[in-house]
């Protein structure tokens, strides 16, 4: 049997790191059989709930269980965090989505095998949060990996009635050709855009470069003096 205080810490931690509400059963399952019992867990949950008073978040009971949620009264400040322009999805995410659409039902391992690259769990989480993919089952192999498929919301977002309105593969490959031709044709003439900035003090150069890198991705630094340009 674990100490009560230890049990409380574990329950609190479990609720905080789960990405969905946890039912009482799910919380119980976090413990080994002899570590604690249901009654204590119930009591501990009540305690945790009381202790949230005065903090920025509270323990909520929703249909599927318990979850921590930021207090509604703080919504105005929270919404400031998301007012910035949404970030763009990464290439990795789009490839993962495409593979799920065309090869569903697939596991993360299947996707990794095709892409040759490991798929971060944040990609899967983002796609699930966006409601574009869902877990459709588990493959009965060691580890019971989840199998993913696309959802109705995915079809709706992309204006499709059914998945077979997606173009067949040969057409997709054709999509790539103009892009490749462009890249191939650009050849040695391809010139990256120039970013210029002035610095008065040499000590500022590093900062300026760092800012430019943040904004433009990788950059080359060319020496420029006065209004002359280095080649």
């Amino acid at each position: 049997m674990l100490e009560r205080n230890n049990i409380k810490q574990i329950v609190e931690a479990a609720l905080l790191c789960a990405d969905q509400p946890l039912s009482l059963d799910q919380i119980v399952a976090v413990f080994a059989d002899d570590e604690c019992d249901r009654v204590i867990i119930r009591e501990v949950i009540d305690e945790i709930e009381r202790e949230c008073e005065g903090r920025g978040y509270e323990l909520k009971r929703v249909a599927s269980g318990f979850r921590f949620q930021v207090r509604q009264s703080l919504a105005p400040w929270m919404s400031r965090m998301w007012q910035e322009r949404p970030p763009r999805y990464t290439r990795a995410l789009l490839e993962t989505l495409a593979l799920i659409a065309y090869k569903q039902p697939v596991t993360r391992g299947d996707i990794e095998q095709v892409r040759g690259v490991s798929v971060g769990s944040n990609i899967i989480r983002t796609l699930i949060e966006r409601d574009w993919i869902r877990v459709v089952g588990f493959r009965e192999v060691p580890g019971r990996p989840a199998m993913y498929g696309t959802s109705k919301a995915f079809l709706d977002y992309f204006g499709l009635k059914a998945l077979d309105e997606l173009p067949p593969l040969p057409e997709i490959k054709a999509l790539l050709e103009p892009i490749e031709a462009e890249l191939a044709g650009a050849g040695p003439e391809y010139a990256p855009p120039l970013v210029s900035f002035e610095v008065d003090d040499e000590a500022d150069i590093e900062d300026a470069v760092a800012d430019a890198v943040d904004e433009h991705g990788a950059i080359d630094v060319l020496p420029v003096s006065g209004t002359e340009r280095g080649s």
Binding site: A13, L16, C17, Y57, K60, R67, F68, Q69, V70, R71, Q72, L74, A75, M78, S79, W82, Q83, P86, P87, R88, Y89, R91, L94, E95, L97, A98, L99, A101, Y102, K103, Q104, P105, V114, R115, G116, S121, R130, R134, V136, G137, F138, R139, E140, V141, M147, G149, T150, Y157, F158, G159, A162, L163, D164, L166, P167, L169, I172, K173, L175, L176
Partner: protein, 284 residues
């Protein structure tokens, strides 16, 4: 051949390392029982039947050599060239069937060892010819440098990290009135991403990804979700068909079930002939 020398050449269990022996007098390196021994009793290294297991374990020739030196006490400078060559050829044979690009690197390393050995057999050049570095020094430096990073990698692997040891604490956001702005995606972007990944696959391996008709794929997901969402373990086969979808819909569902069956994702259960058929998630 003297039987004593013979037995020394094939020592029983652990390899006796006669280290630091330089072949200054070219042929005689030791006299055992009054007989000159001109070959060192250094036997490699890896039992041949373990070869395949080992290949997976090594990150390349430097890793293999480090292992031989550190664990098997191999004195790489005393290796019999013929033996090394034979062993490396075996590796290469095996690698041929596994990962071709590795073979060249092992081959280069075997050549380097052979070069070192042959230099040592030649008369020693006068010392301050510093036009070229001693290949032994070069090799040792490379091995040591590699070993540092090999160890560093092991240490990084031990660091606590997200997904395994570090778990972030989250709380759900309150209702913000606004929806958290999500990135906009154009379908074309998704398709281009797919095209590029398929392209890559074809570059690296010959066989291309096979895809079922999409309507079947989609239905496979639906069927699986239904089976997994079913309160009981079993789902009646006929319950999966929606007659309002018409003939095509039924065929698509049927093909989806067949494909799921083929991929081992579901089981069909029927108690006796003509009894109702049930589906359930596959169990091993």
């Amino acid at each position: 051949m003297n039987p004593k020398a013979e037995s020394l050449e094939h020592p029983p269990a652990n390899v006796v390392r006669l280290g630091a022996l330089r072949e200054q007098s070219a042929d005689t390196i030791a006299v055992v029982s009054g007989e000159a021994v001109s070959e060192l009793p250094v036997d490699l290294y890896i039992p041949p039947d373990a070869l395949e297991v080992f290949l997976d374990t090594f990150e390349g020739p430097l890793d293999l050599l480090l292992y031989l030196i550190r664990r098997q006490n191999l004195d790489i400078l005393q290796v019999r060239v013929a033996e090394v060559t034979r062993q490396y050829m075996e590796y290469i044979e095996l690698m041929h069937s596994m990962q071709l690009e590795l073979a060249a690197e092992y081959l280069v390393m075997a050549a380097l060892l052979a070069e070192i050995k042959s230099r040592m057999l030649l008369p020693r050049p006068s010392f301050d010819e510093d036009d070229e570095e001693d290949p032994r020094a070069q090799l040792i430096r490379r091995l040591q440098e590699y070993e540092r990073f090999k160890t560093a990698a092991e240490e990084i692997d031990q660091l606590p990290r997200m997904e395994r040891d570090i778990f972030r604490a989250y709380a759900a956001a309150p209702d913000l009135g606004i929806t958290k702005a999500a990135p906009e995606v154009d379908l074309k972007e998704v398709l281009i991403a797919l095209a590029s990944v398929l392209n890559r696959v074809e570059m690296f391996q010959r066989h291309s990804v096979q895809l079922e008709p999409l309507s079947v794929r989609e239905r496979m997901s639906d069927v699986l979700a239904q089976i997994n969402g079913a309160p009981e373990e079993f789902m009646p086969f006929v319950g999966l068909f929606n007659m309002r979808e018409g003939r095509m819909g039924v065929i698509v569902t049927f093909l989806a079930i067949m494909e799921l069956l083929r991929e081992g994702l579901i089981d069909l259960v029927q108690n006796e002939a003509f009894a109702p058929i049930y589906l359930r998630a596959a169990v091993n």
